[in-house]
Every structure is written in C-alpha cells, then in structure tokens.
C-alpha cells in the first residue's frame, strides 16, 4: 500500500515534466495532475509496475471546469470561451489495496486527451461517454462516436455548463 505522495514522487522521478502537480489542499481526495498527451504511458506504467500494480480502472469522468470567460448572450444564456475541460481517472489496485486519482486538463476549444482504452478495457465506453457528454476528444480511440445521445444529435454536448437546448429534434419539441 502506497500513499499518493509516494506515488507522486515515483512518477515525478520517472516522467519529470509530464507530471504537473500534486493537488492536496482540498478535502477528501488528493489528485495528481498530469499532461493530457502522456496519460496513456503513465497509466500503463502504473498498471505494469510490480510495486504499484493498478489493475482496475474504477471510473473515468469528464468535468467541465467552466473557468473561462463568460459572456451573456441576448436570450439570457451564457457562453463560455477559454478555460479547460478535465478528465478524472480513479484507479485502484485490487491486491495491493491502494487507490489513486489522476487528472488531466485540456483547453476547452481543442480538448484532446490520449485514450487509454488499450490499457483498461472498460475505458472504451467511459471515454465514449465523456466524448458524448462533454465533447472531449480521445486520440487513438478506435470508435469515438456518441453512445447515449442519438447518433445524429448535432446540438452540442449536454453536460457542458453553457449547453442550450434546441427547440426541435426531428420534429419533436424539446422544451416542456
């Protein structure tokens, strides 16, 4: 069992500037932030290293940080430009009993993150969901299509904070 601090030191030593920082000021969960283009090699190392052996991806969640500049539109809604979208990875080791939270952030306008589907099988669907809901693009993903929303949904990504409902979809009224 290793603490997040120990793992951070290990990672920092091995990957140097690809590991950005260790966030431990907020309550409950410590997070290690890494670069979006190197997340694949980092989780692969975390999985294959004998001492760490993170064999299970618990959860992959996309989050809209909504930290860009907000400008009001005429109809009262908001539009956000700039800022970042983030992805959180909760991984654990089932035999060594330790957990870790990783985070990557990518710019909102071009949110590209390396896919980790070849390291953890279940990441495939989780990544498709994050793409569907937030528009995060996972590079090298084999089949990055919408998963929950209809394939022909062209009104944006519903979990972004500035998402606006369309009036009609295929002739059906959307608002109440």
């Amino acid at each position: 069992m290793k603490s997040t601090q120990e793992i951070y030191n290990l990672l920092k030593e091995k990957f140097q500037e690809k590991v950005i920082q260790h966030l431990n000021t907020l309550p409950k969960e410590e997070v290690i932030e890494v670069r979006p283009e190197s997340i694949n090699e980092i989780v692969e190392f975390l999985r294959d290293d004998k001492e760490l052996h993170f064999d299970n991806l618990i959860l992959l969640s996309g989050v809209d940080d909504a930290n860009g500049s907000k400008n009001k539109l005429e109809d009262g809604t908001e539009e956000i430009t700039g800022g970042t979208l983030s992805v959180y990875y909760h991984i654990e080791s089932m035999d060594l009993r330790h957990k870790l939270v990783l985070k990557v952030s990518a710019p909102r306008e071009n949110p590209e993150v390396e896919s980790i589907y070849d390291v953890y099988g279940c990441a495939n669907w989780h990544e498709r969901e994050a793409f569907d809901m937030l528009g995060i693009i996972f590079k090298n993903h084999p089949d990055l299509t919408r998963i929950l929303m209809p394939y022909d949904w062209e009104f944006g990504y519903p979990l972004r904070k500035d998402y606006r409902n369309p009036e009609f979809y295929q002739g059906m009224k959307v608002p109440y």
């Binding site: 309550p27 064999d55 618990i58 959860l59 969640s61 953890y120 669907w125 919408r146 519903p158 979990l159």
Partner: protein, 371 residues
C-alpha cells in the same frame, strides 16, 4: 470448391422481450455463429447527471432511485454514504442497522427478479411467477415502512425518512423463515434442471483477467473466481460487524465464470443476505433516527468517490463540490454500464440462441446503463 458464405446482420431490440428493457444489439452472424455483437445503448438516457447539477443535495435522492429501479434502496444508500463522507457526518447506530436491513432485503428482491427473468429468457415460466410472488412480500415490507413499492426516497443523508413500523421486525423474521425453503424449491425447479444446465453451462465464459481489465464487478466478477466484495474489502456502514461468506464461482457445472456460475452465485448470495438479515434483526438497537439529518447541506469545496456493493456490482458516486448548494458534478459508476461493455467479447463464437442466455446472466438494468 468451397461454398461461399455471406455474413448477415441481425438487429435485436430495442423492443425485444429478452433485452430486459430498451437495448439494441446489432449482431453479425456467419450462419448461426456470432462474429460480432455491437450493443447500442442510450434509449433510456434520462439526463441524470444534468439533473444533479441543477438540484440541491437532498433533491437528488429521488433521481438516484430512478437509476437502478430494481435496487433503489441501494442507490440511495450509496449516495447517502458519499455525501455523508463529504460532510463528515456520523449517523446513529439504529439508522445503520435499518439501512443494512433494507439493503439486504433489496438485494434479495433484485436477485429474485434477475433469476426469475433469467428463467423466462431460457424458457422456464414457472420460476418467474413463483419469484414474483415472493418479491411482492418484500415489497409489502418496504411499503409498510415508507409507503412506496418501487422507488422509495427512504434513505436520506444522515438518516432515514421514517422509523420502522412496529410490526416490521416480526414480519421480516417471518419472511426469512418463509424464504429459506423457497431457495431449495427454486434449486429443484430451475437450478438443477437438465435443460437449464445444458443451455447455460460452458456458455459465455468470462475469464478472470478479462473481467478485471474490463472493471467488471459484483456477482459477475465473483463468478469468475475472485473474492472481491466491497462489503468486505472496502467496508462501509456497519458491514464489518456481520458474519457472512462471500461465495465465488467454482465451475460447478462446467467452467469457472460461465452463465450457470453467474446464475448460481446469485442464489448463494441470497442465502448470505438472509444470514446478514438474521444477525441485523437480532442486534438492532433502539434509538433516534433523525438526529443526524442536517438542516442544510452545503459541503465545502472538494471531491469524493464513495462506493457500495449494489446487487449488480460496485456502485460508486464521484461527487465534486464547489461549495454551493448544488454539486458541481456527479458522476456515477454504474455497474451495469461497465458490465455491459464486455458483452460483445462474451458472445463472440457462440450460437445465436446463446445471446439471450448470456445477456440474462450478466443481469443489467437499462436505467442504470443509460442513466
């Protein structure tokens, strides 16, 4: 000269009695052999996560119910555990016991549906009727306590909404005594039925390494042979006080991790749930149930991931707070969603008739797959 064959694409669902809801499968066939299955989900996507961002913490509980509608109590349980950890609330003893009793009753109710509809898929109608009869008994226990049959809004952050009815413990005891012989009956009726075994043993084998790689949890993972149960391995609430076993798949009728193992594991789990229930009823203390319910829930900025062992696997809530009355982001690890993602691999190389058998054995609830 070799015969030329052509592949055929068969569409199954979204309206199909054996897809357990609205699931569409696109099956590629070579004769009767499955080459590839592509599940299309999202037909029941009800925007749970968007609702969370617009609701206050207590308002979310009814939506949580509607996710996995066969195990509502457990969804609330998981959510309450997550928010309580975020707020550092300690709930009273009696509440913990009530939660465990309700949770285990719900587990039995959920497994009866899983087993009953599995029999229905394979072609056995009687177990379905028998088990729904018994499920009604559990539902009436819930109804007595909180007034609802299916979606309860019962477990609140820091407590529960109503105390137990004075008759509840007696009737639960009666139910336990009633249900024990039923398990034997179901075993005789379905489990050891020759046709049933032929249809399910050695079908849809899930090897352990693939299961871990795909993050499969719950009975499906245990049927593949790993003793991993969050009630033991990451204890929450008061599960560390009870004495129960964690059954694992042994390949009783065929190979470890086949459909029959997954099915039989649910029966064994019901027995263990009865065991937990008996102990909890013995030990439940008197006391207050509402003292720890906070007046206003406003967690500090931070994030938490908390998980519980739902009847279908690991149900986890990732809650991110930015200090407001509403959460900034709630993401659910839905066991059915994850379990469903391996379905294509499980089916490959089997006959078309086995699709139904495999799908029933992984026991998904579409409300949770799509949220």
């Amino acid at each position: 000269m070799a015969l030329k064959t052509e592949e055929m694409v068969l569409n199954m669902g979204p309206q199909h009695p054996s897809t357990h809801g609205v699931l569409r499968l696109e099956i590629e066939l070579d004769g009767e052999i499955i080459i590839n299955v592509k599940p299309h989900i999202g037909y029941l996507h009800r925007c749970f996560e968007k609702h969370c961002e617009a609701m206050t913490y207590p308002q979310i509980i009814p939506y949580v119910d509607r996710m996995d509608y066969l195990a509502s109590i457990y969804n609330e349980f998981g959510y309450a555990v997550a928010v309580e950890r975020l707020l550092d609330i300690k709930v009273p003893e009696r509440v913990e016991y009530i939660r465990v009793i309700m949770g285990e009753l719900q587990r039995i109710a959920s497994h009866t549906v899983a087993i009953g509809t599995y029999g229905l898929d394979i072609g056995a109608f009687t177990p379905f009727l028998f088990l729904f009869r018994d499920r009604e008994k559990i539902l009436s226990l819930f109804e007595m306590t909180c007034g609802a049959r299916l979606l309860y809004n019962y477990i609140w952050v820091g407590g529960v909404s109503h105390d137990l009815h004075p008759n509840f413990l007696r009737q639960t005891k009666e139910f336990i005594n009633y249900f024990k012989p039923i398990i034997t009956e179901i075993n005789n009726l379905l489990t050891y039925n020759k046709i049933f075994i032929e249809r399910t043993a050695n079908v849809g084998i899930l090897p352990l390494d693939a299961a871990i790689n795909y993050g499969i949890t719950g009975p499906n993972l245990r049927a593949s042979g790993l003793k991993w149960d969050l009630r033991r391995d990451d204890p929450y609430s008061i599960y560390d006080r009870f004495d129960f076993e964690i059954p694992v798949g042994k390949g009783w009728m065929g190979t470890v991790g086949d459909c029959w193992d997954r099915y039989y594991l649910r029966i064994l789990e019901m027995e263990q749930s009865l065991k937990i229930l008996e102990q909890a009823i013995e030990q439940i203390p008197d006391g207050d149930i509402t003292s720890a319910i906070p007046k206003r829930i406003k967690p500090p900025e931070g994030q938490i991931y908390a998980r519980v062992e739902n009847p279908r696997g690991e149900l986890g809530y990732f809650i991110m707070s930015k200090g407001g009355l509403q959460p900034w982001r709630v993401k659910v690890k839905a066991p059915s969603f994850v379990n469903m993602s391996i379905f294509g691999d499980l089916c490959r190389g089997h006959l078309i008739a086995d699709v139904v058998a495999i799908l029933g054995s992984i026991d998904i609830v579409l409300g949770e797959v799509d949220r």
